[in-house]
């Protein structure tokens, strides 16, 4: 190599210019995060599952069964589309996707209640879809529970208890649910703040690997450690910008729980982004092909999301995966970001995650030093 090895500053400037001039890298590193920042949260805009279409199968035709149906109609979770006495009709509507569940009020429901024998309302929800199922089951069981409580209290009163006392002697223990950090329990508020970190990682990884692959094709890959640090610095600069855009603008604009510890979140970016960029550069060195990064990395977001521990509990992962998942920056990044941005934890609670990211940067630089600095023979 006749070209002298580039220094830190020159490499920084050249890399920054390369990102801005390379249409492909620019699109994936700077434009894609903005587009995905609005596109990905789009389906979750409404946050909650309400007014799920259901049917009431009334085979009792009594005052009691009609009362349960009325309570179901009043439930904000349910939208009673059909009242029928034919189970098969409800079943077919379910297969056609017109309803997502139904309550079966059997014959003799009222008679059994009056006699004091067990009376059972069967609630069938579409178990194939967890959230719909939950809305159907809870919506109907609240309706049935309210009617049932009314009957019980009337019976207790008939037995000589006062109304207040009767209400109390039912279910002596109650559970009061307090949702923390995502008080409305919105679906988007749960998914998007975590996936934002994954989008950040995937776009940066692809951009950095694409750039390094392009250098490899042009035989401009090998460089001294100063130049590698410059390249890393420039890429990280763009990455931190995207990160601030997400933490600040996207979370704010879409009104996600945020701002627990903004200083901590900024510190996290300073660790998270370089870890991704160094990994991206390494992948580019390995692929030695401009487009390969897209081909290989596109599918990886899916398994990484479920390994990061925000939606699928880590406790349920097989032991080898519990260890392997730390190889992706997203695992530490998502865990730390949720704690800092959404849960408002102090910085020292996320130190282990920052440590994992630092280890990734150090290990990555070491590999770059071994594999991608000029060989001694070339220096001569």
């Amino acid at each position: 190599m006749s070209e002298p090895t580039q220094g830190f500053t020159a490499a920084w400037r050249d890399t920054a210019l390369a990102v801005l001039r390379d249409k492909g890298v620019l699109l994936i590193m700077l434009l894609a995060p903005i587009i995905y920042g609005f596109f990905y949260p789009w389906p979750y805009g409404t946050q909650a599952v309400t007014r799920v279409p259901v049917a009431v199968v009334d085979q009792d035709h009594s005052g009691l069964s009609r009362q349960i149906a009325r309570f179901a109609m009043a439930s904000p979770r349910l939208d009673v589309r059909m009242v029928t006495s034919d189970v098969h009709e409800a079943q077919q509507a379910l297969w056609r996707g017109e309803i997502e569940g139904y309550a079966l009020l059997p014959q003799d429901l009222k008679r059994n209640v009056l006699r004091g024998t067990p009376a059972v309302v069967t609630i069938e929800g579409n178990g194939a879809y967890a959230l719909l199922n939950k809305a159907v089951l809870y919506g109907f069981s609240e309706a049935v529970g309210t009617v049932s409580a009314g009957v019980e209290i009337r019976k207790l009163q008939a037995g000589g208890q006062g109304a207040v006392q009767a209400a109390r002697s039912r279910s002596p223990l109650n559970t009061q649910l307090v949702p923390l950090f995502n008080p409305s329990e919105g679906y988007g508020s749960y998914v998007v703040p975590a996936v934002a970190l994954l989008i950040l990682q995937q776009t940066l990884l692809m951009g950095a690997a694409m750039l390094a692959g392009t250098w490899a094709e042009a035989r401009r890959l090998r460089a001294g450690m100063g130049a590698w640090l410059g390249r890393l610095g420039a890429l990280s600069g763009f990455g931190v910008l995207s990160g601030v855009f997400y933490f600040g603008w996207v979370f704010f604009l879409q009104d996600y729980p945020r701002g627990g510890n903004p200083f901590g979140a900024l510190v996290l970016l300073l660790f998270y982004v370089p870890a991704i960029c160094v990994l991206g550069l390494l992948l580019g060195c390995w692929f030695r092909d401009r487009e390969r990064a897209l081909q290989v990395l596109l599918f990886t977001a899916l398994p990484m999301a479920f390994l990061s521990g925000f939606s699928w509990p880590v406790e349920a992962l097989p032991a080898p995966l519990q260890a392997l998942r730390w190889l992706f920056p997203s695992t530490a990044g998502i865990q730390a970001s949720l704690r800092l941005n959404q849960m408002g934890a102090p910085l020292h609670d996320v130190l282990p995650y920052l440590g994992a990211l630092v280890a990734m940067v150090v290990a990555g630089l070491l590999v770059l030093w071994i594999a991608a600095t000029p060989r001694k023979a070339e220096r001569v």
């Binding site: 979750y44 309400t50 009376a119 109650n174 559970t175 398994p303 479920f306 509990p313 609670d349």
Partner: protein, 394 residues
């Protein structure tokens, strides 16, 4: 040369190329196999157990100790920490050391003895959706069990018989059946839905790569000849895509057979029709990839488009967050995505046990879609072959 000759020659050429390019071969063989295995492995436990919760017992009574024992005995929960005060509990929740905490207030057992309702407080981390909904369900059940025990004992003391007390406590019972009873098993619910989502990404990538690479490497002439006729271009395209199609279909079939029969799950619906739908869905995805490469004449742009269409397909597919709850325009976009339609068929057959008639139309439409995409791609490739100066876009 006959048209079949064009197909065979194209397939042979692709096979020879794949043998010299380990990455290209990997991306349609062992990488997809490993990826679907990984997805299955992640969810292989089926249902998370022993999620860590903390307890703040301010009552220190027999009742509160009984409740804590019940919580710890619930398979889904593990009482990992006990706190001395609210500050300690708050810190554990904020740092994520536990996913939830149960607070048993002072005077709980006194309240209950005096006939007042005792409130147990469950503080759960709603930022972790799956964790918190599983914990809510389990804690509610444990509290309700203890509560029913107390009520039963009280009524018994008053002279009601156990049986009479049971019926009069809940005159109308709600028996909740998650139809098809699969919603609690995440291996069948999420694992089975994610495998096709993953294959969708890999298949469209494979289609885009196979065609786009010829354009990038300026080898379109070597593949199609200088001026291919339309049937020749179509035959060559079919031959080229046959290998990734066969390989990815085999991976898909193996994965779905493993997650059903291999794991002792025998769905009520038709596994055969689901597999047919999956194979057609893979074909459609590959054809879609070939189409975007032929259209853009740039491998990179085609791969970016692949990412845009396939990567968020799962989020728009209605499996996690239902379609009916999405904003109108998002529903419209979702209805344009092939994954949305495929996964409905799979849900109907594997989960809901619907008769095949309900799921018959979608795969057949996908066959038509695949044919149209291939036909249009052949036209676009004919045009591209005639314009060598547009090759080599990066």
């Amino acid at each position: 040369m006959s048209l079949r000759g064009f197909s065979t020659a194209s397939a042979r050429r692709e096979f020879a190329l794949l043998r010299t390019r380990p990455w290209d071969l990997a991306m349609i063989s062992w990488v997809p196999l490993l990826a679907v295995f990984l997805i299955w492995w992640i969810f292989s436990a089926g249902l998370p157990e022993r999620l860590p919760i903390g307890v703040l017992d301010q009552d220190h009574s027999a009742l509160s100790r009984q409740l804590v024992r019940f919580l710890d005995a619930t398979p889904g929960l593990r009482v990992a920490q006990q706190y001395a005060d609210e500050g300690e509990m708050q810190r554990a929740l904020t740092s994520g050391a536990v996913d939830a905490a149960v607070q048993v207030p002072r005077d709980l057992s006194r309240d209950v003895k005096q006939g007042r309702v005792g409130q147990i407080v469950l503080l759960h981390n709603a930022q972790l959706g799956t964790h918190s909904s599983l914990i809510q369900r389990d804690v509610r059940t444990a509290v309700a069990t203890v509560s029913a025990g107390v009520e039963l004992a009280v009524r018994n003391k008053r002279g009601e018989s156990m049986k009479a007390a049971r019926v009069s406590m809940d005159p109308v019972k709600a028996s909740m059946v998650a139809l098809f009873n699969t919603s609690t098993d995440y291996e069948q619910f999420l694992g089975a839905a994610l495998i096709p989502a993953l294959l969708h990404i890999l298949a469209m990538t494979a289609g885009a790569w196979a065609v786009g690479r010829e354009l990038r490497d300026r080898s379109l002439g070597g593949w199609l000849g200088a001026a291919p006729r339309w049937p020749e271009a179509l035959a060559a395209l079919a031959g080229k895509l046959a290998l990734p199609f066969a390989s990815l279909s085999a991976v898909g079939i193996a994965a779905m057979l493993w997650i059903t029969a291999g794991r002792g799950w025998h769905p009520v619906g038709s596994v055969g029709w689901t597999l047919f739908a999956l194979v057609v869905f893979v074909a459609l995805s590959i054809a879609l990839g070939a189409f975007v490469s032929s259209l853009t004449r740039s491998l990179r742009t085609a791969l970016s488009a692949t990412g845009f269409i396939t990567a968020p397909a799962f989020a728009f597919g209605g499996v996690g967050f239902p379609l009916v709850a999405m904003p109108m325009l998002a529903q419209l976009w979702a209805s344009l995505l092939p994954y949305t339609h495929y996964i409905r068929v799979q849900m109907e057959q594997l989960q809901m046990g619907a008769p095949v008639a309900y799921s018959a139309a979608t795969p057949l439409w996908m066959v038509v879609g695949t044919a149209v995409l291939l036909a249009v791609s052949a036209t676009l490739l004919m045009r591209a072959a005639a314009a060598p100066d547009t090759w080599g876009g990066r």
